[in-house]
């Protein structure tokens, strides 16, 4: 059972890295970006190309994937997304769904529709036993990397000036602008960083989640669940939400395989009914 807990935590932390960019985007610009999963997919496929075909080692490959996806995010944000900020939520939904469709079809065209795998270094393969818990080496890596990322994010948010500017902008963009904070730049950088993280998550997660052109559609729901349940006013909310979902999903699929998938959706609906603004959102909204 502890193995399941371990696997669930790994899954949850991976979800968090994937989804936290979306959470901040939504909280910051009130923008519903359903195409977030496409960045994750991009990161995954970039790593595939780098590691499998170009012979780049695994860890540098991850870093490069992060960088390229972040740049991609920055580019798209400045050219396309910026035109859609002021539009209604319905328009944003339509726009990002359109982007998802385009990216899914494009990747299918370029890379083919079968599932792809990244060649993981042999040191990360297999499992070992620790106090009776089966520890997968790769999953351990995920927990460590994601844990470091989470701590880093928290430090940036609370300890740096950029972090305070970001928090101010999330809280009240109008007032933040009035204070001289360049909210547009804050957002561009945050969007790029969030997309980069998604790309990194996609690369890390290829082994566990399975990478194929339908990735954005398959996992979009999970990201959205993390964001809606966890709220958008902090990263603690999505973090805990991700862990809950990760553990619930893994445990559900193991203990009640017939209904495993329901557990997630039902939890989400119940939670949203009880607290429509998310578990951790502040009471007074925009």
């Amino acid at each position: 059972m502890l193995t399941i807990l371990f696997d669930g935590i790994a899954y949850g932390m991976l979800l968090f890295v994937l989804a936290c960019g979306l959470s901040v985007t939504l909280g910051l610009m009130n923008f519903v970006n359903l195409a977030h999963g496409a960045f994750a997919m991009a990161g995954g496929y970039i790593t595939v190309v780098l590691v499998n075909r170009a012979g780049v080692p695994f860890f540098p490959g991850l870093v490069i994937a992060f960088a390229i996806t972040a740049l991609l995010g920055l580019l798209l944000e400045r050219t396309l997304y910026v035109h859609v900020y002021s539009k209604s939520h319905l328009d944003q939904v339509l726009f990002t769904i359109g982007l998802v469709f385009m990216s899914v079809a494009a990747v299918d065209y370029v890379m083919g529709s079968q599932q792809v795998f990244i060649q993981i270094p042999s040191a990360l393969q297999g499992r070992f036993e620790l106090f009776g818990i089966g520890i997968g080496r790769y999953r351990l890596l995920i927990i460590i990397v994601c844990g470091i990322l989470t701590l880093g994010l928290q430090l940036i948010l609370s300890g740096t000036r950029f972090g305070s500017r970001l928090r101010a902008s999330v809280d009240d963009a109008r007032v933040a602008r009035g204070l001289g904070i360049n909210v547009n730049n804050v957002f561009a950088l945050t969007f790029a960083f969030g997309s980069g993280l998604a790309g990194l998550g996609g690369a890390l997660g290829a082994e566990i989640l399975g990478l194929d052109p339908t990735f954005p559609l398959k996992y979009m729901v999970y990201f959205l669940i993390v964001v809606t349940v966890g709220g958008t006013s902090s990263i603690t909310g999505p973090f805990i939400a991700s862990l809950l979902i990760g553990i619930a999903d893994v445990a559900g699929k193991y203990y009640v395989p017939k209904f495993g998938a329901f557990v997630i959706y039902t939890i989400m609906i119940v939670l949203l009914l009880l607290r429509p603004q998310g578990l951790f959102a502040r009471a007074a909204g925009k």
Partner: protein, 359 residues
């Protein structure tokens, strides 16, 4: 009391609801398509080839989009989960036929519709509160749950392969479905027309007016005595019924049901259909269905595997150009055509000028 004013008021309401020339034209064209597009006159010209198969798809897709318009265009609820009702009724209609529980198609249609309405009613409370995003999530969640249920009981639903072996009995015991799709098309068209008439009546009723108020300002509606939640539940259930009928039509005309009735792509495509045609005037779903299906057909012929890319591109472009600009453009086209037609020297077409404000 000024009798002149009272008359003015009554005329105003009567004119609002009057059938315009364009509406007559639309349904006459639909009626004509039964004969003109049936492949009966291919010796005269290949233009008259049998298009009833695609027209049948347009018919139930139009009905599906109409059902979404009821909640999106008239009540302001954004839903990504309308496919839940569509899919449920689809499976039920197929199962009723396959296991000969209800063999007469019209009866099975109505029963499936009511099943969808029941699901709609049961889930309506989910969309009463919460932001747009919450509603999106919750409606999407319901559809995904339905899909999982269908996936997990393959003994009943056929699972990923779909429900095979469905045989549809003749409509009313008289009209057997034929391989050319003639009976199917007339069936769908009649159902669409009847339900359209009903929707039209509802929209122009006091209830319909209160829906527009709720959409425009829910807070104020409550404070003039309108039960906002009651209205939303009612229209959501009605929309679920319509979506269910559309799904049952799909199952009955194809004698098949599969998991992709619940897919996210279906909900997304539906939004696109309605957006193309425009929300809030009842014909948006129908016109959007025509345009979407023709576009899809054309693109699929060019690139069968990647047509999703072009659909995505259309969505992106529509949003970037601006729905309201597209809406204003089409509205302008509509009113100018309407005026031109009403000037024709045909007395039957000379109806009251098109209403200036909301329909």
């Amino acid at each position: 009391m000024d009798p002149g004013s009272i008359k003015q008021v009554s005329h105003h309401f009567a004119n609002r609801a009057r059938w315009s020339a364009m509406e007559y034209a639309f349904w006459l064209a639909a009626l004509a398509s039964i004969f003109v597009c049936g492949g009966y006159w291919t010796e005269i010209s290949p233009l008259f080839a049998n298009r009833h198969l695609i027209l049948t798809e347009i018919a139930w897709l139009g009905l599906f989009a109409l059902s979404l318009d009821l909640i999106l265009g008239y009540a302001g609820i954004i839903s990504l989960g309308h496919a839940a009702f569509f899919g449920l009724a689809s499976y039920i209609a197929a199962l009723l036929a396959k296991h000969a529980i209800i063999t007469e198609p019209v009866l099975a249609l109505v029963v499936s519709g009511f099943a969808a309405a029941l699901l709609g009613f049961a889930t309506s409370f989910l969309v009463l509160r919460g932001s747009d995003l919450t509603r999106l999530m919750v409606t999407l969640g319901v559809t995904l749950i339905m899909r999982e249920i269908a996936n997990q009981i393959p003994e009943i639903t056929g699972g990923a392969d779909g429900l095979q072996g469905v045989v549809i009995a003749p409509i009313l015991g008289l009209f057997q479905f034929d391989i050319f799709g003639h009976v199917a098309y007339v069936y769908c068209l009649v159902v669409l027309f009847v339900l359209f008439l009903l929707a039209r009546r509802i929209i122009y009723s006091p209830f319909g007016l209160s829906l527009r108020a709720v959409k425009g300002n829910a807070l104020r509606s409550g404070l003039i005595g309108i039960s906002v939640n009651g209205r939303l539940i009612a229209v959501y259930t009605l929309a679920a019924f319509y979506a269910g009928i559309a799904g049952a039509l799909l199952a009955q005309t194809t004698a098949f049901a599969s998991l992709d009735v619940f897919s996210f792509e279906r909900s997304a495509d539906l939004l696109l259909v309605l957006i193309i045609g425009g929300t809030g005037y009842l014909y948006g779903g129908l016109i959007g269905a025509v345009i979407f299906k023709l576009m899809q057909d054309w693109i699929a012929n060019l690139t069968p595997q990647y047509w999703q890319f072009w659909i995505g591109l259309v969505l992106v472009l529509i949003v970037l150009v601006g729905r309201d600009r597209i809406g204003t453009a089409t509205a302008m086209i509509r009113t100018s055509v309407q005026r031109a037609v009403s000037r024709l020297p045909v007395p039957a077409l000379r109806v009251a000028a098109p209403p200036a404000e909301g329909r």
